[in-house]
């Protein structure tokens, strides 16, 4: 019964009797004999230890738990609420300005059709507000758990590092899409209430049906959501480097702002294609006739590259990290 014990642990057990010298590991002469007698005494051969079986939907259960935390947390809901308010404010403002007459350009476009507010709201919010909301969730994802100490219990559960990181990323990406969808829905509803419904006149002057206009909104949401998900990868990567979530969040937001500033400097045109925010506004390709899928594809490739790069950084860091919090 204790053959392994005795051979591996001469110090343990009754070995250390008074007056008896403590033995050095591996020098237990009786182990062999004991092993033989044990085998005779116990006919059933001990089965080798096996890892416990995994439940089938375990990954989705953890993702569900993660989403539950994210979408029940007051902070995250408040950010969604604030973001939902902005299109309403924009819509009402444009309605008032538009009502006074003398409007031109974009204002005329938006006030002229109920769907145009959605594109306008997206292009405005995608610059900073949406990135901030996404960054708060992504930057907090690992650092927040580390800071609170819950990370050690998740990993001891054992959640598995790669699995947990993947769940954290999917959660942040889903929140990114939720943010985008909230903007679009809020703008759409506001637009429908405040402005005339009907065929949409695009930037190029072509007119499309309202149904096709809605489809193009859907494409825009898919594209912008992917951009926000790419940003979430950066937030997640920074999040694995610290136990202070505000650090990861602030770091990512500063990165976004620096990129926006660099984009505005004409002398630096050559580097703008490498900056993530450059690609966020490419969704206006859906306002061309026909849709400029080439521009969308280019943007999606950039997002994919960012997700791959920062996902790898996050994984490399997190999989070998000492959890001492």
């Amino acid at each position: 019964m204790s053959t392994v014990d005795t051979s591996t642990s001469p110090g343990a057990g009754s070995g250390v009797r008074a007056g008896e010298a403590r033995r050095t590991p591996g020098l237990v002469p009786v182990a062999e004999t004991l092993e033989t007698t044990e085998r005779h005494a116990r006919p059933e051969t001990p089965t080798p230890p096996v890892p416990s079986a995994r439940e089938r939907w375990a990954f989705w259960r953890l993702l569900g738990s993660e989403l539950g935390l994210t979408f029940r947390r007051p902070r995250n809901l408040a950010m969604l609420a604030v973001i939902a308010c902005v299109p309403v404010i924009i819509g009402v403002t444009l309605r008032i300005v538009g009502g006074q007459g003398g409007m031109g350009g974009i204002i005329a476009d938006v006030a002229g059709n109920s769907l145009m507010l959605t594109f306008f709201a997206l292009s405005f919010l995608v610059l900073l507000m949406m990135p901030v909301a996404v960054t708060v969730v992504a930057g907090d994802s690992v650092a927040g758990e580390a800071g609170a100490g819950t990370l050690r219990y998740l990993l001891a559960a054992p959640a598995g590092r790669t699995r947990l990181l993947l769940v954290k990323y999917l959660n942040a990406a889903i929140y990114a899409y939720a943010v985008t969808a909230v903007v679009a829905l809020s703008a759409l509803l506001t637009g429908l209430v405040l402005f005339p419904a009907g065929p949409v006149t695009l930037l190029s002057g072509t007119t499309i049906t309202m149904a096709e206009g809605l489809l193009r909104i859907l494409i825009a949401v898919g594209y912008v959501g992917a951009g926000m998900a790419a940003l979430a990868a950066i937030g997640l990567a920074l999040s694995t480097f610290t136990e202070v979530s505000i650090g990861a969040i602030a770091g990512t937001i500063v990165l976004v702002i620096v990129c926006q500033v660099l984009r505005a400097i004409p002398e630096l045109d050559s580097i703008t294609p490498y900056l993530l925010p450059t690609w966020f506004t490419n969704f206006d390709a859906v306002l061309r006739a026909p849709v400029d899928f080439g521009a969308l594809r280019e943007g999606l490739v950039a997002f994919g590259a960012y997700i791959a790069l920062f996902g790898s950084i996050a994984w490399a860091r997190f999989s070998g990290k000492d959890i001492t919090s």
Binding site: M1, S2, G15, R54, W57, A156
Partner: protein, 328 residues
């Protein structure tokens, strides 16, 4: 040098170790070492062997590397050198069958006790979802938290938090419990309850590995112990063998010291010492109740009889040096 596991289980009538990996130690480490960045050696060449079915006390002064060892066992910290296996499995494969409490409780403050436990249960890929609610309720019941199950963790008292952490360690069928200072912050009742709980869990055949710097606690609930000092293992073995240099003594309080000493002598007890109002002697293998009966038969007025077990404290202080000052 024979059956360590049997001996370990004996005090609590433990069931024999589970069929799989029977005879294995619950925890084995060989040369386990952790050097933190910055050169701090927290654990130095640790050779630990925790027999299955034992209640294993992991003792050491503050900063002696207990938590770091536990973190390595749980795969939270990568060892600089050495190997370890838990329940016969390498690295983290055994973790679903291990319940752990590491360096105090940590939960989501805005969730209730139940929601917190469900969260950690969801993180375990081997935990069945269908039984989750029942298992959570049972775990809460076991630590006496049922009444506060719906309360937000933010509003828990220190002791309630500690209990919740123990409940989290009891969420599934566990073969090994690793508890890092489980009685930290508990009131005397809570401390006793934790001790009783540990004994109860051990009686089911679960191995319990409990770190502590409370010697009395370890002495009361453990069958085995290991003593650390600044990252180095200085002793391990059964409690009896650790305090083996000091024999168990019997103390008889009586005015008739001479008669009492004579009766003890007839039993053949060694080192009989008479003092004012009491006689003490090494108990050896004798049953104290038989000694008492003999004393009464001989007309000795027995006012009190006590069995004085040797204290681990003397061993501990001898091995870890002066008091509990933090080294290094």
């Amino acid at each position: 040098m024979t059956t360590v596991t049997q001996e370990a289980g004996a005090p609590f009538g433990a069931a024999p170790p589970p069929a799989d990996g029977a005879g294995e130690s619950a925890i084995v480490t060989e040369g386990l070492t952790k050097r933190f960045r910055g050169g701090q050696v927290a654990v130095n060449a640790l050779d630990l062997a925790v027999p299955r079915g034992s209640v294993f006390g992991f003792l050491g002064p503050n900063g002696s590397g207990k938590t770091t060892t536990i973190r390595m066992l749980l795969g939270l910290v990568t060892p600089t050198a050495g190997t370890h296996s838990v329940l016969g499995l390498p690295a983290t494969q055994a973790l679903p069958r291990v319940g752990a409490l590491v360096e105090g409780p940590a939960f989501y403050p805005y969730l209730s006790g139940t929601a917190n436990l469900l969260r950690f249960d969801a993180a375990d890929p081997t935990a069945p979802r269908t039984t989750a609610r029942r298992r959570v309720a049972e775990a809460l019941e076991r630590v006496g938290l049922s009444a506060a199950a719906g309360k937000r963790y933010r509003n828990y008292s220190l002791g309630m938090r500690q209990r919740l952490a123990i409940a989290a360690a009891l969420l599934g069928p566990r073969e090994l419990l690793i508890l890092d200072e489980p009685t930290n912050g508990l009131d005397p009742q809570g401390t006793r309850e934790v001790r009783a709980l540990v004994k109860e869990i051990a009686a089911d055949g679960t191995t319990v590995f409990v770190s502590s710097h409370l010697l009395a606690e370890v002495e009361q609930m453990c069958t085995h112990a290991a003593i650390m000092r600044t990252g180095t293992l200085v002793a391990q073995g059964t409690i009896a063998s650790l305090s083996g240099g000091l024999a168990t003594r019997v103390r008889i309080e009586t005015p008739d010291t001479a008669d009492a000493a004579r009766v003890l002598g007839t039993f053949g007890l060694a080192d009989v010492r008479s003092e004012a109002g009491q006689v003490t002697a090494e108990l050896g293998g004798h049953a104290p109740e038989r000694i008492n009966a003999a004393l009464v038969e001989e007309g000795v007025a027995v006012r009190g009889l006590a069995v004085l077990r040797p204290s681990l404290e003397d061993v501990f202080v001898g091995l870890t040096g002066e008091g509990f000052d933090v080294d290094g």
